[in-house]
């Protein structure tokens, strides 16, 4: 909301310190987002036309000599001729920066310089009139800033962020009321006289759908002369960004911006049947709105129709094209109404149409501010249309949705103080509320009634009153104190373990990324994943509607991105949620770790897994029989803990690499974190390290390719028993000397006893036992 300080000063005498005004507004909950200085354009001054002269070689422009009060004749070229010698006009002197961005230069035409430029109203940012030069009052002093003459004052306009609960602050008067209360200054809202009423004039109003329109008044005003607005009004409207049009439209806008009362002026001559019907549209009914667009409506849209039931506007949102005020208008049918806010809001959402009026209706307009507003409209219009006559017989139709005029709520003093953290007496509370016209009455010191003004529809219950008290007491005046938590702060086991995962991965040189969780079907297919996925019904980007079922597409995208930027061999991880569909109230959302190691083969992923497993105290079987989709069929496996699949390990499938245009091999690890994070295993128990010498024993076995080395390792451990303190696979060999379809696996066993030096007999026993255990797997000890 653009707020003119000059305008505000009509109701409250605020000072000129803009910063302090902005701070006060901010302290009241109206944040000032921007401050703009507007007003007379420096360099544009008044000048009297001395004489005019045509130039034989210039058909469209004339030469004008003006006096700007310095006793010198200044020559300018001018394209308009709507003025005569003796008129006072605005002269933009050389060097003036105009609102449209131009800087006035002295370059003329035909080699004759122009000592400035005479200005139209539009050129001065004062409206749309560009038909001629703005002619100022003839008695105006010369050489003064033209603003002094037009009533345009230097002004400061604040862009105020008005929150949803403050519809009253969508009008200057509402903001002034709050400021006056806070600054303890007198508040002088407009108090227009009740308009004198002429002969009765007939008009009808019928509210058909009363649940959407609670009140509709129609006032007939005849004898209206449509003309430009008074300069002061045009200036104020222009200052807050409202283009002045003519006196009727301008007054209409002015009253909206002043009192937050959207309204509409119809030309009675074009209002069929001299009446209004307010009804819901028929499904598919068509209305051409003011913006010239033909709109097909649903049966939920509220229409303003003429008495012949012809739609003339979308209630509260936008008028129709046919009944607008024109220069020929003499009789105005003036609408002030009250529409139900949720209905307007829903209509705005459905139609995508919004206007200054609809924004106000959505938030709630004072249904009982109408009478003052009608009087104010007439008072203001009379200034430029003194011959107007207000007719008796104005219609004031009301319907069931009209909110009650008088509302109040019971408030407990204790509750106010408990929530805010202060100790206020009843009279102190009343003193804070009274200036904003929330009136305390009845009850006693501890509990009482607070009457709520009709312009605060958001305010209904005790807690709303607490907020008003807090606002006007000032948040900054509430003493700050830290509540003493009776609990001890800590991270949960899962949160601590998640951090440990990160530490391990970072230590292994793997960096964290956060790719988008939204995928396209194409990305899904490229990653070799199933298309049975969860989808967003209104995605931001058409086609990117898949909620990822796996972190792999995102991580592969990152690998591809880096590779294409000549960064091969990246090691990346992500910890994030995946969203496979599920049968429950919510999808089967899970937290997952994904690791990709570009330029590395599957064993690199196994190495990462081993580090994680050992650091977290977890274990899993590598089941190469079951390869998850999208992974390399002979180099990947499912990780199985107990009976539960907890992840995937291996390498990205070659076709997936190709689809992502990645040239390197990519090792991959995916781990479902739910069970990994769930519990912390018991701390490792210390085992005494032996003081006796150890000895190493190398054993190589030939084992069929179909048997995982993991099994042999397990057999060796079992066979060697308690003397085994270290086991390392140090060589894998395939080729001459080893039968096809098998390989040789060479292990180094470190043996050590806790209580003695090992004997040859000990070693021989271990060899025999290990050999026996290995043979059960079909592994043959190599000589």
């Amino acid at each position: 909301m653009n707020v003119s300080l000059d305008w505000l000063r009509e109701y409250v005498l605020i000072g000129s310190d803009v910063e302090s005004i902005a701070a006060t507004l901010s302290g009241l909950g109206m944040a000032v987002e921007d401050v703009a200085h507007v007003g007379g354009i420096p360099g544009v001054v008044t000048a009297r036309v001395l004489r005019l002269e045509r130039h034989p070689d210039a058909a469209k422009v004339i030469r004008v000599w003006v006096d700007r009060g310095d006793g010198v004749e200044h020559h300018v070229w001018c394209g308009a001729s709507n003025f005569s010698p003796g008129d006072v006009v605005p002269l933009a002197t050389v060097g003036t920066a105009m609102p449209d961005g131009r800087t006035i230069g002295s370059r003329g035409i035909l080699g004759i310089a122009s000592d400035g430029m005479l200005c139209s109203a539009r050129e001065l940012g004062l409206g749309s009139d560009h038909s001629g030069i703005l002619v100022l009052p003839a008695d105006a002093p010369l050489g003064v800033p033209y603003g002094e003459v037009t009533g345009l004052v230097d002004d400061v306009v604040l862009d105020v962020d008005v929150t949803r609960n403050r519809p009253d602050a969508w009008g200057h008067v509402g903001i002034a009321r709050d400021l006056a209360a806070k600054l303890r200054l007198p508040f002088t809202p407009p108090r227009p006289p009740a308009p004198a009423v002429g002969a009765p004039a007939e008009a009808t109003v019928e509210i058909v759908d009363g649940d959407r329109c609670g009140r509709f008044t129609l006032t007939i005003i005849s004898g209206v002369t449509v003309a430009p607005s008074a300069p002061w009004m045009a200036a104020r409207l222009a200052a807050v960004g409202q283009r002045p049009i003519n006196n009727v439209v301008d007054v209409s806008n002015y009253v909206m911006l002043e009192l937050n009362q959207p309204n509409h002026a119809y030309d009675l001559a074009t209002l069929g049947g001299r009446g209004i019907r307010v009804r819901l549209a028929a499904e598919g009914e068509v209305l051409t709105t003011l913006d010239g667009v033909e709109r097909k409506l649903t049966a939920e849209e509220l229409l303003i129709c003429d008495a012949f039931d012809r739609p003339i506007g979308l209630a509260g949102i936008m008028g129709g094209a046919d009944s607008e005020i024109s220069d020929a208008t003499t009789t105005v049918a003036l609408e002030f109404a009250w529409f139900e806010p949720l209905g307007i809001a829903a209509s705005v959402t459905r139609t995508g149409l919004r206007s200054d009026a609809s924004a106000r209706w959505e938030r709630g307009v004072d249904p009982y501010g109408i009478d003052t507003s009608i009087a104010r409209f007439i008072e203001l219009l009379r200034e430029t249309s003194p011959g107007l006559v207000v007719h008796a017989g104005a219609v004031d139709a009301r319907a069931e949705s009209l909110p009650p005029q008088h509302r109040s709520t019971a408030v407990r003093r204790r509750q106010v103080n408990r929530i805010i953290g202060v100790e206020l007496r009843r009279d102190e509370i009343a003193a804070l509320l009274d200036p904003i016209e929330f009136t305390v009455s009845g009850g006693d010191e501890e509990s009482f009634d607070v009457a709520i003004p009709s312009w605060r529809p958001d305010s209904t219950e005790e807690i709303d009153i607490v907020e008003e008290v807090a606002r006007h007491y000032g948040y900054e005046n509430v003493p700050k104190r830290v509540p003493l938590s009776p609990l001890h702060g800590h991270l949960s086991v899962g949160q601590q373990r998640r951090r440990r995962i990160r530490e391990v991965l970072l230590g292994l040189g793997i960096s964290e990324v956060m790719p988008s969780p939204f995928l396209s079907d194409d990305e899904l297919a490229r990653a070799g994943l199933d298309s049975d996925v969860l989808r967003i019904t209104n995605p931001l980007v058409v086609g990117e509607d898949v909620l990822r079922p796996s972190l792999r597409p995102g991580l592969m995208g990152a690998v591809a991105f880096n590779e294409s930027h000549r960064r091969t061999g990246v090691a990346l991880f992500e910890i994030g949620r995946v969203y496979p569909p599920g049968p429950g109230e919510l999808p089967d959302e899970r937290e997952v770790l994904g690791v990709v190691l570009a330029g590395a083969e599957a064993p690199a992923a196994v190495a990462v897994w081993r580090e994680l497993a050992s650091s977290l105290g977890i274990g899993a079987r590598i089941d190469q029989q079951r390869v998850p989709p999208g992974l390399h069929p002979t180099r990947s496996a499912t990780l199985v803990a107990g009976r539960e699949d907890i992840g995937a390990i291996g390498e990205i499938a070659p076709d997936v690499l190709e689809a992502f245009d990645v040239d390197e091999r990519v090792a991959v690890l995916e781990l479902d974190l739910a069970s990994v994070l769930a519990s912390e295993p018991r701390p490792a128990r210390w085992k005494a390290t032996s003081r006796h010498p150890s000895s190493d024993l190398d054993m190589a076995f030939v084992l069929d390719e179909s048997v995982p080395a993991e099994k042999l390792e397990k057999a060796i451990r079992q066979g060697a028993g308690s003397l085994l303190v270290g086991l390392e696979l140090f060589d894998v060999y395939r080729g001459a000397g080893v039968a096809a379809g098998s390989r040789s696996l060479a292990y180094r066993l470190r043996l050590q006893a806790a209580d003695r030096t090992l004997t040859d007999a000990d070693t021989a026993a271990v060899v025999a036992q290990v050999r026996a255990a290995a043979e059960k797997l079909g592994a043959v000890l190599r000589a």
Binding site: G421, A470, R471, V478, S511, F518
Partner: protein, 335 residues
Amino acid sequence: VIDDIGAARDAALERIAAAATVDDIVRIDQDVLGRRGTLTLLKTSLGSLGGPDERRAAGRSLNEATQAVSAALDERRRALADVARADRIMAERLDLTEFVAAPRRGHSHPITQAWERLEDVFVGLGFTVAEGPEVETDSYNFEMLNMPASHPARTEFDTMFVDHAGAPPGTTVLRTHTSPVQIRAMLANPPPLYIVAPGRVFRRDTPDATHMPVFHQIEGLVVDRDINLGHLAGTIEAFTRAYFGEGFTSRLRPSYFQFTEPSGEFDIRRPDGHWLELGGCGMVHPNVLRAGGIDPEEWSGFAFGFGIDRMAKERHAVDDLREMYTGDIRFAEQF
């Protein structure tokens, strides 16, 4: 004999003086003092000498000679070892700036860094950390936060809806804020509650330098007896000092949210006097407490929330939020 001893000694000392390597010393040691060494052999010849005096004199002389040679050997060995070590040290010289940088450590995402720092600060203030689902029901995301179905405030959230078979259409959303975790925490635990809930949230916002459709927030919720606006302001202030450091202060100013009342925004003042708008906050609305199964007459509370991405962005002066989500290793490596 004594002359022989003297000669052997002198010969040995001469050789020792001339020795160039530790190996030479070992050899001399063997030649002179070894089993068949010159002095050793002389010792065996002592028995053949005549008188005891002569034997005693010769023995003394031999002992002196042996000691002299031993000492000389030790000294020379030490000297030669010193030289050898010094030579090796010189030969081993490295220029430590002749270094080919190989990336070793991984880089934590700046958003994670901010996230964890925030958790740590609130843990220090006695909070625990709560979590909740990113795909939420309309009920937790809106309804129980005092925004019933037709509430116009809902339109401000630019919600993305999820087509989930298990629920009626339009009732499953990508959570638009971390506030639903408030409700989940209240329903799961009796008061008092002191929690923060960091997490990922979603808005249907076109990505630009300061907006992303996917971003991160942290939510705080305190419910206890007689919690008031002053406690909210005090907690924000304590957080401000703990997170940003001394010299930073905070302020609350009124605002409006559906789920809190009175509501506020909070700003942080940097030591240079510049104000930074940080987040929204307020006293938990009685309807929200009720939705969480808590009696607002017995308990009261406050809540606050702000963006984590923004903290990371400010801390590292990243001028475009989109950079955070590219997966570009050249971004990651900077932090």
